[in-house]
Symmetry: C2
Subunit: 408 residues, 2 copies
């Protein structure tokens, strides 16, 4: 419902509720976008709306180490409270993974209730009403909701790609130059909805742009799709490790990642927030984040943490991940071929779970596709296709149906 | 760490981080209190700090229906995303439970990531900087953190009990009369740390006091310990059902409850937020709460929700709960006798997991008890004893050691 309508309903039907609303309470409405469109496409035989990964029958595709964990969990680690900030062994195991990506300073990763929770903690810690948050465009709609609706920050979109399909360094530089004070730069590689990861050269150039920023800057790396990279020569570990030597007087790197995509545990809601700082400042930032977790959710689901810990303890975890990623890479290759065969205009993509098609009237096309049993997600001037949810053998048919609707 | 010290550490060691902090970010520190004191008492053989329920060996005591669920969960309901707002079947099943308690208006309960998440949603929806929140004293320390530190609301404590150990109706009436505008009245019965539930007569009188409040009022019922009532003649369903006929121009009742204590699933982090409103206003409030969940955690742990659903589907759930509650009731009776035998001064208690002892120098006594392997939680002028974590056969020894430290 529109926010004005929601408030009108309350003013008329429950005046006490309306009178008691905070400024935030007044701004709230449930955002449309992916979750609403996915609900509408729930019955579609070809439902490519959601960025989770399912097998050819729509079943879950867990890592074997995690599927086995359900039967092998101890009562204490399921039913009793997990510690504030998360299980210590889990936090240390995740830090060891990050250590393989960077020699730079790392706080002890704090467990969050999914990656959204980590983003909302950063929003609460680093944005006031009017703080500028530089966001990728096209980008995940929930960023606006987390930073804009909830915290009142000013959304400053930057174009991720140039017309030629290269990383738009000058757009990011211009957005940084236009900051009025401390700001947040949000980076999301591999990206949703674009499915883009920069080349190694682009990543190095981006770091130079960031180092030249005129104001103190939080560089927030949403690395949800870490490892889901399908071509060579790309910055597989994203930008966070490249900021290791940044001047703490000017730049604070923060990494948000977790089990949701990386370990194929979409339902688990286990994420991590890690500051690119160690020693006393790293511990102070971690304590502030833990204080916010205490004030928003207290602790994170113990069974979910136990399952992630089982996965991280599996000696063959990397091989297990590779098996599932190979399924996704095959779907990616089939999709690339189908898009070319049907001559569809697509943003450059090379990673994550998505391809983003350039179309006019995206909302009208989406509604038409629902009639033919195809679920895609509409963005302004674009349609997002999640190949992570479509069997390899159905991808060509999905693209053919989509192409027929676009050319109408 | 003190908040000023945290900010100093950042200013010196990471100036960019300090410059970028929001007003909320500046206020944050990790609160002492229960979680910090429980960590200190982790090695105590008699650790009565935490309000969870363990058996005589410190093991988890799950409901059988939930313990069986771990082996019986389908991959889809564990590994794939749960819907925004929670599983529909779970929400409906919880509403059916609430329907047994009240004929009044109910929104569809929304699943939250533990009860703290529900409280923080209410804080975000209904408090601005300076909004008055009337809180029980003594009360759970995290209320101050959720409403005060995080949202900047004004904390207005009211004494729960009179000197004679009766519900302090005049204190609540005076606090309501002193409100300057829309406010939040937080009620917590059975209460933490008091372990108190009002008599039926006290509950009816409290409702009259609430109805006479001069300003629009959110009445927030934190019913975490629903059902944990050990004496007759008490308001076992709390205050929420008694507000069923309240004027929507003046009062909005909200119920926060969940599986954490009620279904003995401390690690699960499954709570519910239910508004005492239906029709369009109920749906508008539910949408606003769902919008906040989307902006803070997105969805709630799928394995945890699946396990709660299994418990709610068990035809003998009530009997399973009764078995575990009987263990607690026996511990309660043994504790009452021991406290009387050792002639300790205790606040009137009749429910939940706690007894609150009146002492001077509570922090010094707590530290002394740690040396003797006894973990209690210090409040100003009081010590909280969680008998839910102590075997029945150890309670007398725990009280004897505690008494010896108090009389020193």
């Amino acid at each position: 419902m529109e926010v004005a309508d929601l408030n009108t309903v309350l003013r008329r039907g429950h005046p006490a509720a309306e009178r008691c609303l905070s400024a935030l309470g007044r701004r709230l409405y449930f955002p449309g976008g992916v979750t609403a469109q996915a609900a509408e496409a729930a019955g579609c035989p070809l439902n490519a709306t959601i960025g989770q990964f399912v097998d050819d029958d729509g079943g879950a595709v867990p890592l074997p180490s995690m599927a086995r964990a359900i039967d092998a969990l101890d009562g204490r680690e399921v039913f009793l409270y997990a510690p504030q900030g998360g299980r210590k062994d889990l936090r240390q195991a995740w830090q060891a993974r990050l250590r393989e990506q960077t020699d730079g300073p790392l706080s002890l990763p704090m467990v969050t209730s999914g990656l959204t929770h980590g983003l909302s903690i950063v929003a609460d810690m680093f944005t006031d009403v009017g703080t500028q948050v530089l966001l990728p465009d096209p980008g995940w709609g929930n960023y606006n909701h987390i930073f804009g609706t909830r915290c009142g920050a000013e959304m400053v979109p930057y174009s991720v790609l140039t017309e030629r399909g290269e990383l738009n360094l000058s757009a990011i530089a211009a957005a940084l130059d236009a900051t009025r004070g401390p700001a947040v730069l949000l980076l999301n590689f591999p990206s949703n909805p674009l499915g883009y990861t920069p080349t190694l050269e682009e990543a190095a150039a981006l770091v130079e742009v960031i180092r030249a920023a005129p104001n103190p800057l939080v560089v927030l790396c949403d690395d949800a799709y870490h490892g889901m990279v399908w071509e060579d020569g790309l910055a597989v570990d994203g930008i966070f490790p490249l900021l290791a030597g940044a001047d703490p007087a000017r730049i604070l790197p923060i990494k948000i990642d977790g089990a949701t995509k990386e370990l194929f545990f979409f339902g688990g809601r286990v994420g991590f927030i890690t500051f690119g700082a160690d020693g006393a400042p790293g511990a102070a930032l971690e304590e502030k984040a833990r204080a916010l977790a205490r004030a928003t959710i207290s602790s994170v689901s113990a069974p979910s943490q136990a399952m992630v810990m089982k996965a991280l303890s599996a000696p063959d975890l990397a091989a297990q991940q590779a098996v599932l990623r190979d399924v996704l890479r095959r779907r990616y290759r089939v999709l690339c071929a189908a898009l070319e065969r049907h001559n569809l205009s697509v943003y450059r993509f090379n990673s994550a779970f998505f391809a983003l098609l350039r179309v006019e009237n995206s909302h009208a096309i989406r509604r038409g596709l629902l009639q033919d049993g195809v679920g895609l997600v509409a963005f302004p001037g674009a349609l997002r296709l999640s190949y992570s949810t479509i069997p390899e053998g159905e991808i060509d048919r999905l693209v053919a149906i989509t192409a027929s609707h676009i050319s109408r």
